[in-house]
Structures are given as structure tokens and as C-alpha cells.
């Protein structure tokens, strides 16, 4: 089985490549990159005018399967991924049951392999049941395919438990993904604390609720020498904490979401719960800091925190609506918008979506090197389109960008040499 992708602009940051080249794929692997490859008996895909990148990687999603299949499942979630140009994703363990045991890990991986449209790399929980009391069996979970550990959605409140989690995960060479949030400071808040929350009469969540735990966990990473990955940084302070920690040589990485670099808490005016997520939309100053962190390399990856919720869980009073928004199908155009706005160049954008998250997850994806698995995304960077929530592939339609005009999308998504999405 041979495929020749012809005349595209190949952007592969792992190999510092940005060049018009042909790519030959044989039996699901990258066989050759060169100018003017003779197609021979290969199927030819004309990619003139398109950007060719390694299949995109979203290191933070919620597939809701098992347990919450009415919101999303592995089939629909990976369909949404493919439609967004994403070929690999990591999924958080806050399913029901929690992914704290080998049976759940194997279920996720097997279902994804048999019925999915993307590679799924599960993240196991740090503690059993995500209740913060007993460590999960990380060694066995890692053997079973988990690429990291997190109690995402909930912080590990107990400092010693977080310390032991870092030490124990480090034994097996995998990172801890922290959801940094001091619940006592959140104190029932439902949006960012500040003038907009005051105006709307909604209880605010102060930035310190995020930064205090980010600081603690960075210090624990420093103490233990373990790899800490900070999920969804949303505040100026957290970006600065990570920047300073990296400068000191602490093993810390972090990610940011498109909604945190595109939107401020002003979007909550109108009380639309599709602007309610955790961490919440922050101030313009925070948005600017996240963008600066992406530009200077403090932030290692752009991840969606794709969090599908049923309309019944969103179509309620703001204060009682569930947290989270879907993001897989808007990840790419929102990242490209930062290229247009000159926050970073195209190569940096693609690195944030491919080789950098791959390195954190320790997976052999995110590059177009010869011999690599042929996960490839073909992008039309200039196509304008409008987000229509009802037309999203995800089962849930809780996007913050309904009706918004986007520029750029994946026109073809190739998973191990096989086209899984095409438009």
C-alpha cells in the first residue's frame, strides 16, 4: 500500500523542516521525503497549496468513555479529533469508573484501536477513584499503556499525597499532570474574580486559587526531581511560575488551551454557560501572559481540555452549569490565528501541536521522520469557514465559538497511512 503526497509545504518542526516536498508512505510508515518523487504505482494525493504536518496531538481531552457515553464516547471523540486534524490524543481518567485500573485502561485502548479514528493514549489517575487517598497502581497502568497520571478535574489537595505521586510516577518514568486548583479559595465561585464577576453578581474564582497550587506542585517537582506537567495554565502568575521554574532547571512542562488564549471573562456577559469552564476565562492581562508564554517557549503545548457536556447540563442557570467546552474541531484554526496575529511562526505553532506534546507524553508520534508511523494532517490554512455547533462531530455541542468565522482546517487526516477524515 503506497501513497504519495505531492507538492505540499511540509512543516515538521522535530526535523526543523519547512519545505515543499513529496512524501511517500509505504505500509503505514513514512518511507521517503524528497522533491519530485516518482509515484510509480502509489496512490497520489495532490497537496499543492496545502500544509503537510505530522498528525496533530491533543494531550488533554475528556472522552467520557466509559460511563458518560451520553456526552461523548471513544468513537465520537476520535471522530471529532480526526475532523480537527488530530491523530493522537491523551484522555483524562475522570470516567466512570475512573481509569485507575488496568481493565479500564485496556478497555479504552482496545475500543480506540478497534473502533476509533485516532490514537488514544490514556492518562491514569494519581489516586484510586481520584479521591486523593491511595495511590493508583501506576506501574501496571503504565505497562498497560497509560502515558501519565492525573486527577484532572480535581486537585490533589493533600501535599504529601502529591509528593508521593510525583515520586512514585517518576519511578516508572512518567509525568504527573497537575490540575492546579485550591478548592478552598475557589469557594463555590463560577467565573474569574474581577470587575466582570462583580458586575454580573457571580461569585469569582481568584487567580491565586490556581497559582498557589501551581507553586506548590512546582516546588514538589523540584524536591522530588520528578516531571511535573501543569495542565491548562490560565493566569499570568502560573505562566511566570513555570517560566522561573524552567530557568532553575526544574523538570516542569505546561500546556495552554485555545479558549484561554482567545477569550476573556468579558465573554461571560450574557450568562451563556458555553463560556463556563475550569479554570475559568481570565482577564486580558492573563490572556496576554499566556500568549507571551507560548511565544517564548514557557508553554510547551496547546491542548484543548476538550470537555463535552450534554445540552441539559449547560442549558441551566450559569452558577449550576457544568464546567467545560469542546475544542477538538477548533484547535487548529485557533492556533493558526496566533500565527496570523504574529504571536509565533507557523513552525512554532505546529511544534506546539506535534513534537512538543509527543515528547511530554513519551510517544513515538509527532514527526514525519523516515520510518515514523504515517500520521499526517493536510491543512488548508486559508479556507474560511463558520463554526456551526450542531454540525460538530462531537456528541456534545458546547463550543465557545458557535457562529464564529475560522480560518484554516484539516482537509485530510491520515492515521498510519489510512485516511480517516477528508473534506
Amino acid at each position: 500500500m503506497k501513497i504519495l503526497i505531492k507538492s505540499g509545504r511540509v512543516v515538521d518542526p522535530a526535523n526543523k523542516l519547512d519545505k515543499k516536498l513529496d512524501i511517500m508512505v509505504i505500509d503505514g510508515k513514512i518511507a521517503e521525503l524528497a522533491a519530485n518523487i516518482d509515484p510509480g504505482d502509489a496512490e497520489v494525493i495532490n497537496a499543492a497549496g496545502l500544509i503537510i504536518t505530522p498528525g496533530l496531538i491533543d494531550m488533554h481531552t475528556h472522552l467520557r468513555d466509559p460511563g458518560y457515553e451520553y456526552k461523548e464516547d471513544i468513537i465520537s471523540g476520535t471522530c471529532a479529533a480526526a475532523a480537527g486534524g488530530v491523530t493522537s490524543l491523551a484522555c483524562m481518567p475522570n470516567t466512570s469508573p475512573v481509569n485507575d485500573n488496568l481493565a479500564v485502561t485496556q478497555y479504552i485502548i482496545t475500543k480506540a484501536q478497534e473502533q476509533g479514528s485516532a490514537n488514544v493514549f490514556p492518562i491514569g489517575s494519581i489516586t484510586k477513584g481520584m479521591n486523593g487517598e491511595i495511590l493508583a497502581e501506576m506501574g501496571e497502568l503504565k505497562e498497560g499503556g497509560c502515558v501519565g497520571f492525573s486527577d484532572d478535574g480535581l486537585p490533589v489537595i493533600n501535599g504529601e499525597m502529591m509528593r508521593r505521586g510525583l515520586e512514585y510516577a517518576n519511578t516508572f518514568g512518567v509525568p504527573i499532570f497537575t490540575h492546579a486548583e485550591d478548592l478552598s479559595l475557589v469557594a463555590g465561585g463560577s467565573m474569574n474574580e474581577g470587575p466582570v464577576a462583580t458586575e454580573l453578581g457571580l461569585k469569582g474564582i481568584p487567580w491565586v486559587a490556581e497559582d498557589a497550587v501551581t507553586a506548590r506542585d512546582i516546588m514538589l517537582a523540584e524536591l522530588t526531581g520528578a516531571h511535573l506537567h501543569v495542565c491548562h495554565v490560565s493566569t499570568k502568575g502560573s505562566v511566570e511560575l513555570v517560566r522561573h521554574a524552567k530557568a532553575r532547571g526544574v523538570r516542569v512542562t505546561c500546556e495552554a488551551t485555545p479558549h484561554h488564549f482567545m477569550l476573556t471573562d468579558a465573554a461571560v456577559r450574557g450568562y451563556d454557560a458555553n463560556f463556563k469552564m475550569n479554570p475559568p476565562l481570565r482577564s486580558q492581562e492573563d490572556v496576554d501572559a499566556v500568549r507571551a508564554g507560548l511565544a517564548d517557549g514557557t508553554i510547551d503545548a496547546i491542548a484543548t481540555d476538550h470537555a463535552p457536556h450534554h445540552i441539559d447540563e449547560k442549558n441551566v442557570e450559569f452558577a449550576i452549569a457544568m464546567n467545560g467546552v469542546v475544542g477538538l474541531e477548533t484547535l487548529l484554526p485557533l492556533t493558526l490565528r496566533l500565527v496570523t496575529e504574529k504571536v509565533f511562526d507557523l513552525s512554532t505553532a505546529i511544534a506546539l501541536l506535534t513534537c512538543q506534546p509527543a515528547k511530554i507524553l513519551g510517544i513515538d508520534r509527532g514527526t514525519l521522520s523516515v520510518g515514523a508511523v504515517a500520521d499526517i494532517t493536510l491543512i488548508n490554512p486559508n479556507k474560511e469557514w463558520t463554526v456551526v455547533a450542531e454540525e460538530l462531530h462531537s456528541k456534545s455541542k458546547n463550543t465557545s465559538f458557535d457562529g464564529q468565522t475560522m480560518r484554516g482546517y484539516a482537509v485530510r487526516t491520515i492515521l498510519a497511512g489510512k485516511t480517516v477524515f477528508e473534506r
Binding site: E199, L202, Y271, V316, F318
Partner: protein, 312 residues
């Protein structure tokens, strides 16, 4: 000018001209309340549902009387917040009521934004009778009406509002309303009860009562909810009363002819000493009296205003 809004959700989006129009309309209704026969046929055939998810005596009674004096059919529903626990959503509750074709729903609800939520989803008019910590427009309008009645005009006055600013929907509506009408609004309260960015709504913030009420024309005291005692916000009602209660001779700091207001219900001896609560400067019962006229004006204008009379 004519002003017939579909909904009254808050003061924020009203202009000074529209606020004055509402107050002028209330002026013309006030006299009805002192007649022998306190009823006019203006809203005959209109149905007003008072949908209250939170306990209320004053506001609900005031809206009910306002509706009845205009000959509307008024229905009161005290839906406990536990209807959420029972499983019916706010939207479903509201749509069930709408199926009975009311013209206006007057709603009080503990969730900020809930009146906006209703207005976005229903065909009938919605009047906000207090949503969470967001707005309480009819209270602000009756406050402005009362100030205007006692002082001639709101413009140029200094109004001090003292208390738990964070949790008060009255404050937010009052700041918008009084600032739009040209007053200087000052706030004071303990730091735990002053939300960040409140000054952006159009007011000055003080951290002691004395500075806030010095030379004020109007002193408005907010109810301190006793359940906040011991929570992280205040150590005790006793200490609160000492520093933020209007008592003793503190009123001497305000202008000699200053008036004292309170949205009720008052906690005697806490935010308001009885000597002041019953003293000559208090206009608290005028506020209650004017509330009926202001709510008659709101019901009338939302129902169609002058267009109604043409049909009579």
C-alpha cells in the same frame, strides 16, 4: 417620549431619560394608592405571575398589590429552590407557566442571570424582582423615586451605601440608577464584603462608614445577613454593628437634612440602631409605599403603556 420595554432585567442598560420616564409614570400612579377605591382598569385582562424562588414579603406583596390596583389578574407562585432538587429545570418550570399564557412573569431567583435566562427563552415579558447578586431594578427605581420625592432631584446628591456590598443585588442596581441620574455614590463595608472592581460600576469605595457618610445627603444601610456571621466574612454581628452599624451619633457626620434609607427587612441594633430607624430622618416606609407606585409603572410600561389606553 414613550418607553415600552419588553422586559425589565436590570438598570444597567437603561438610560437616564428612560429611568426618569419610569419615575414620572410612577408619579402619576402614586395617587391611586390613597384613593377610597384603589383600583383602575388599566391592566384588565392581563395576567401577571409572580414567580418567587426565594422568600420575599415586601417585594412580592408590592408587585401583587401593584398588579391588583391596575386590575391585572395576579398569581403568586412560591417555588422553593428545591424544585431544582426535584428535577424540574428553571426552563421547564417557566415554560409550563408560559403555556398558561401570562402576559408578564415577575421573577425572583437565587441565580444571577436567571431573569436574562428566562427572557432569552420565553415569549412573555419578564420583570426582574431580584436575581442572585446581580440586579434588583424595581428596588433601585423606588429608591430613586423616594430620593427625588424628598430632595427634589437626584442630581448632585451624595449617596452613601453601607454594608455587604458583595452579596447585594440592590447595590448594583442602585449604583447604576443613581449614577445615571447624576448622584455621587459612595460605598463602605468591611473588606470581606467589597467585591473587586465595584468602583467600575460608577462609585467610590471607602473602608470606613464615617468617611462614606460625611456630608452625605442620603445614607442607605444594607441588611446584614446574620448567617454570614462566623463564616469567613465577619467575626460577629456585635463587631459589625460597632464599626459598620448606623447608630449612636454617627448620623451627625451626614448633612443635617440627610435621609436614611434601607431596602428592608431591617436588623434593629445591627446595621441600624432603633433611634435612627425610628428617627425623623428615616424614610424607610416611604420607600415601601413608593415601591407599589414604581411597580405599577413597570407593569404598565411593560404591558404596553399608552398603547393600552388606546385599546380601552
Amino acid at each position: 417620549m414613550s418607553f415600552n420595554p419588553k422586559h425589565i432585567l436590570g438598570i444597567k442598560d437603561l438610560s437616564a431619560e428612560e429611568i426618569n420616564f419610569i419615575l414620572d409614570t410612577a408619579d402619576s400612579f402614586k395617587e391611586i394608592n390613597t384613593r377610597q377605591i384603589k383600583k383602575v382598569p388599566t391592566l384588565r385582562g392581563k395576567t401577571v405571575v409572580n414567580l418567587f424562588f426565594e422568600a420575599s414579603t415586601r417585594t412580592r406583596t408590592s408587585f401583587e398589590i401593584a398588579g391588583k390596583r391596575l386590575s391585572a389578574d395576579t398569581v403568586n407562585i412560591s417555588a422553593s429552590s428545591s424544585s431544582v432538587v426535584k428535577g424540574e429545570t428553571l426552563e421547564d418550570t417557566a415554560k409550563n407557566i408560559q403555556a398558561m399564557h401570562p402576559d408578564i412573569i415577575v421573577m425572583r431567583h437565587s441565580a444571577s442571570g436567571s431573569c436574562q435566562y428566562l427572557a432569552d427563552r420565553l415569549d412573555c415579558s419578564v420583570i426582574n424582582a431580584g436575581d442572585g447578586m446581580h440586579e434588583h431594578p424595581s428596588q433601585a427605581l423606588l429608591d430613586a423615586f423616594t430620593i427625588r420625592e424628598h430632595k427634589g432631584s437626584v442630581e448632585g446628591l451624595t449617596v452613601a451605601i453601607i454594608g455587604d456590598i458583595t452579596h447585594s443585588r440592590v447595590v448594583r442596581s442602585d449604583i447604576y440608577c443613581l449614577a445615571k441620574l447624576g448622584a455621587r455614590v459612595r460605598l463602605a463595608g468591611p473588606g470581606t464584603m467589597l467585591p473587586p472592581g465595584i468602583e467600575k460600576l460608577g462609585c467610590e469605595v471607602f473602608n470606613n462608614l464615617e468617611d462614606a457618610i460625611r456630608d452625605a445627603d442620603v445614607v442607605m444601610m444594607l441588611r446584614i445577613q446574620r448567617e454570614r456571621q462566623g463564616a469567613p466574612l465577619i467575626p460577629s454581628v456585635r463587631e459589625y454593628a460597632r464599626f459598620f452599624g448606623l447608630n449612636g451619633n454617627k448620623m451627625e457626620l451626614a448633612k443635617e437634612d440627610a435621609i436614611v434609607m434601607h431596602p428592608g427587612p431591617i436588623n434593629r441594633g445591627v446595621e441600624l440602631g432603633s433611634i435612627i430607624a425610628d428617627g425623623p430622618q428615616n424614610v424607610i416606609l416611604n420607600q415601601v409605599e413608593n415601591g407599589v407606585a414604581v411597580r405599577m409603572a413597570l407593569l404598565y410600561l411593560v404591558a404596553g403603556g399608552e398603547k393600552l389606553q388606546e385599546n380601552c
